[in-house]
């Protein structure tokens, strides 16, 4: 009964005090808002980015392996540049047993290539690929068809285009059969790929794929650069295939045991592992930023609380003279600190979430804001503890003083 009374009256007094000291309450809350909002924003963005990237890596398919030329830094210093050739591809194609699909691709050999249709033109990248490429990489046509073996054989000037070129070149809704100009050469559009969206703000649908032979002809045989991709048969031993690839390619290049590989094998598993490593270090940096935000918020709260000690000590002296018990005073201050902390935390949460949502709206490719519970608990918990400790500590001290000493406190 007595405690209930003290709780009700203490809370009433706390709310009265919060309202009466509007500026102080606002500034205290502001510190907490800043701390919580920044934590939530950073964590939401980090979380969203990583889940987005993981999702996209999963889309690539976990079992695809790409073999590409690799030049060690030492070799690079000496002016070497390793290459894989069409004959490497043919060797693997004929010798690799457990492989379901294997394809070769000439990577973007002319970046910033100009393509035009009618009066519109844009920059794009041109790749050369064979007909198996779509099954390995899993790019499927939304309209028309992918390249065929016939296209490759006859070195046809045909183009399979990424989805965003329709808009960029103001092509008709179904552009199959229309011609586009690539540095003065005309290519017939045979198909449009399904949309892939963007990653880190990079458009992934801005490309043109032509038959491998056509690309070779345009690029000239000297500049031939081949990337080989394959997909193991279901249940096949991926490591064994990799060993086979390695020995075949090394034997063909005549490398001695001490020489390093002139190629590298990239699987999306490996990419994922690398990405996780990067993500880990980014997370540490973010944790630092979060820590600093919390510290700044915490110091803000601390300052306001400590600055008002004189005023509050005097106030405590007055109410002690009027008959307030130490418990009552502490209860009032506790309620006040908790209410301010929770209120600030809630506003910070809403603001932080709002910022994160705004970011994902403004940045193309950013996913929806995701806020994990631990971030909420951490942010609100930390600032609340600071608010409560620094709000209560002076009150504890003052409530133990003789009223007359509290009244004289300067």
């Amino acid at each position: 009964m007595h405690f209930l009374h003290a709780l009700i009256e203490g809370s009433r007094a706390a709310f009265l005090s919060i309202r009466a000291h509007g500026l102080r309450s606002f500034l205290t809350t502001l510190g907490i808002i800043i701390g919580v909002a920044s934590v939530i924003t950073v964590v939401a963005i980090m979380n969203g980015l990583s889940s987005n990237i993981r999702g996209q890596l999963d889309d690539l398919g976990s079992d695809m392996v790409t073999i590409r030329a690799y030049t060690t830094p030492d070799q690079e210093l000496l002016g070497f540049r390793n290459k894989l050739s069409d004959s490497d591809f043919r060797l693997l194609q004929s010798k690799l047993g457990q492989v379901e699909q294997i394809s070769r691709m000439m990577p973007a050999f002319s970046l910033g290539l100009s393509v035009s249709y009618g009066r519109s033109s844009t920059q794009t990248q041109l790749l050369g690929a064979d007909s198996a490429y779509q099954n390995v990489v899993r790019i499927y046509p939304q309209q028309g068809r992918f390249l065929t073996a016939q296209d490759d054989l006859k070195r046809r000037r045909v183009a399979f285009i990424g989805h965003s070129l329709i808009q960029k070149l103001q092509l008709p809704a179904n552009p199959v059969g229309h011609y586009i100009s690539l540095s003065g050469d005309w290519f017939r559009i045979i198909g449009v790929a399904e949309k892939r969206g963007s990653l880190f703000g990079f458009d992934q649908d801005n490309y043109i794929i032509t038959p491998f032979s056509t690309a070779t002809a345009i690029n000239g045989p000297d500049n031939l650069q081949v990337e080989i991709s394959y997909r193991p048969k279901p249940g096949a031993d991926a490591a064994q295939i990799e060993r086979q690839v390695r020995s075949l390619l090394r034997a063909k290049a005549g490398l001695s045991a001490s020489e390093p590989d002139h190629f590298e094998l990239v699987s999306s598993e490996k990419t994922k592992a690398q990405f996780d490593k990067v993500l880990d270090s980014v997370t540490w940096v973010a944790a630092g930023v979060v820590g600093i935000s919390l510290l700044v918020g915490g110091i803000g709260v601390m300052n306001i609380m400590l600055v008002s000690v004189t005023e509050r000590t005097k106030e405590i002296g007055i109410v002690k003279a009027l008959g307030a018990t130490p418990q009552f005073i502490l209860l009032q201050f506790l309620v006040e600190a908790i209410v301010l902390s929770l209120f600030g935390g809630l506003i910070g949460l809403i603001l932080g979430y709002g910022f994160a949502a705004l970011m994902s709206l403004l940045m193309p490719g950013m996913p929806d804001a995701l806020v994990p519970l631990w971030a909420v608990v951490l942010a609100i918990g930390f600032t609340s503890v600071i608010g409560i400790v620094f709000g209560l500590a002076p009150a504890i001290k003052a409530s133990r003083l003789n009223p007359i000493d509290a009244l004289r406190f300067e």
Binding site: M1, H2, H5, E9, R12, A13, L16, S17, A20, H21, K314, E315, G317, I318, V319, K320, A321, L322, G323, A324, T325, P326, Q327, F328, N402, P403, I404, D405, L407
Partner: protein, 257 residues
Amino acid sequence: MTVPVIQLQQVGKQYEMAGETFHALSDVSLDIHANEYVAIIGPSGSGKSTLLNILGCLDTADSGSYLLSGNAVASMAENQLATLRNQQVGFIFQSFNLLPRHSVLQNVMQPLVYRLMSAAERERRALAALQRVGLFEKKHHLPNQLSGGQRQRVAIARALVTEPAILLGDEPTGNLDSKTTADIMQLFDELHRQGHTIILVTHEQEIADHCQRVLRMVDGRLVADQRKQSHAGVLESAEQSMLQHTNNLASATRLLV
């Protein structure tokens, strides 16, 4: 004779200052009865405020005993002291000590917050107290919207609202001009007539002149305790006539039996 409201016996208080012990109060013994109107005077540093703070339980004595309405203050725990301050003492400060951001009404209701009392009852009593000091109209003002005299009236209302056994004023007119001082003293006189026990600390003779009894302090000691002859005489004759009545009553009873 009735039991005194205040009984002090050999009360002492020391402070350590720069390694030296300073005796703020030494060996003060004193009785004050209900409805007395007492002034404590003396030069600054004589210990008169220290004495008043101890009487109001705002400070505690280092030695001696103090009974307030029969409660032994020296042996009390902090919570009991708080209850005593709340129920027995109305303290009025020189600098008013109102809560600056609370309205006049909230300030006057404040001491009742520490009692089991409904908010409606608190407000009713606070309004009645404001009525008594003539500030009913200003109930929603903030202290800084009032004059010094009005603020002191609010403080007096706050002291009165708990119906305390003693009203203590530490230089209650020290911050006020002479006109306002006269008004406030008139209020104290009236409260005394209504039956309140009032103890004022002052260094002004004019204030002390309002009181029936003047305690003079020098260097922490009580050096004089003067009762005004007129008042004392009235009291004495009242006592005698009461004795007379009691005797008459006793003989009448005997006759009846």
